[in-house]
Subunit: 246 residues, 2 copies
């Protein structure tokens, strides 16, 4: 299943304006303005001037919040989004509710304490964002994330992402039962997405510091329904059997 | 969400021909013919003469199998279906692959060994069948069963049924994670069914004989999505708040 672009010209628009460059621009802008977010519950709040707000929108991080501040647009970032800007892109500093800036180590501990399985979810999130996918919460589709090839105004999300981990009970509870597998695949079919299962191997139990992320391996697997009817006729062009015969 | 009848007149047809009576007719027919099924893998095979085959179709037990036997129609029954005809309706005898008839106790042990969680699934199945619902496998919708108000030719299935049990790991793995809950509800919305969760309380660990079923309690719960937009306007006619005020 390929990308489903939203109308004519959307693909060309996306090609002319790669997501990698938009994120780079946002990164520069945040570094230049010495951007600071405030950790508030399970999200990070951040104010942006007009131009920066546009870049937030184009890179599709967080969502804008309606408030009375006329000069600046406030954004609410999810924990993975905020940590990605902070730790991976080094363009955001985050303060706790006491207004004191947290270093990477403190922020990591704090996010781990707020969200079970954060290290594993973050690895999955940053894995996809680093590959220039736009990654958003997937709860609406019963997934952990959804991934878009470009901005959601140009293209429908292509993948429903489930995060799984061998060592982590929190992120590990799905797809154990056939009924769950069928449910998930049937829903993906209904909403025209491909199920992407990211399995994180931890190579060690130590997750006290975010440096452990370098040891995490990500295994990408897409799961699709097998239709006996569709698979019955042999495709002689490039299927496994014909290749084996060559 | 009410029943979705298939076309005009379907509801009247169903009313004129209650499922309870159809099942009674099938029961009499099976008793009269001293019907015997053969346990074969995880299903029970059974041959029916023309009139009985029609009753099987109308009561919607099992599915017909294409074979070379011109005089009789063969049916393949699922384990819950076969055990229901055998144990609850007392109208079917079942032989093992050695052709020797099994008594209820032997059959129970045999089905338990073939399907993890069989006692709990059977309780759920028989609970719904006894209330004259037509109960079919629900795997296509990621559920344990689907339930129809009458024959599937007249009405769409109304409930996707998930079976849960406090003491039974096998039947107990679903809806533990929010992503699973959302996935299931979103799918139910897509296929216009209501999610029905049947929770079986066992009252004791002894399931060596089918008589334990009498001690099983069934808790019925339907789960629907809550839409803040829909729920914002107060419906003054019969909502909880207005009742409380009275």
């Amino acid at each position: 299943m390929g990308p489903r672009w939203k109308g004519k010209g959307a693909e060309a628009k996306a090609l002319a304006d790669p997501m990698s460059k938009i994120v780079l621009k946002l990164q520069s802008s945040l570094i230049q303005s010495d951007a600071r977010g405030i950790l508030c519950g399970s999200s990070v709040l951040l104010a942006a001037e007009e131009e920066q707000a546009l870049l937030f929108g184009r890179a599709y991080f967080g969502h804008p919040i309606v408030n009375a501040d006329k000069d600046r647009q406030w954004f609410q970032l999810g924990m993975e989004e905020a940590f990605f800007l902070c730790y991976s892109l080094k363009c955001l500093k985050i303060a706790g509710e006491d207004k004191r800036l947290k270093d990477d180590q403190e922020l990591w501990q704090c996010m781990k304490s707020k969200k079970a399985g954060f290290p594993v979810f973050y690895k999955a999130y940053s894995h996809l964002r680093t590959k220039n996918w736009v990654v958003r919460p997937g709860l609406q589709y019963g997934a952990d994330f959804v991934a878009y090839r470009h901005h959601p105004s140009l293209v429908h999300s292509e993948y429903a992402v489930l995060v799984s981990s061998e060592g982590d009970a929190e992120a590990n509870g799905r797809l154990k039962l056939w009924s769950d597998v069928h449910c998930t695949l049937r829903l993906c079919l209904g909403v025209v997405k491909t199920l992407l299962v990211l399995t994180i191997s931890k190579n060690g139990d130590d997750d006290d510091s975010p440096s452990c992320l370098a040891n995490y391996m990500v295994d990408e697997r897409t799961v699709t329904r097998w239709s006996p009817e569709q698979s019955r006729e042999e495709d002689t062009s490039d299927d496994v059997e014909s290749q084996a015969r060559e």
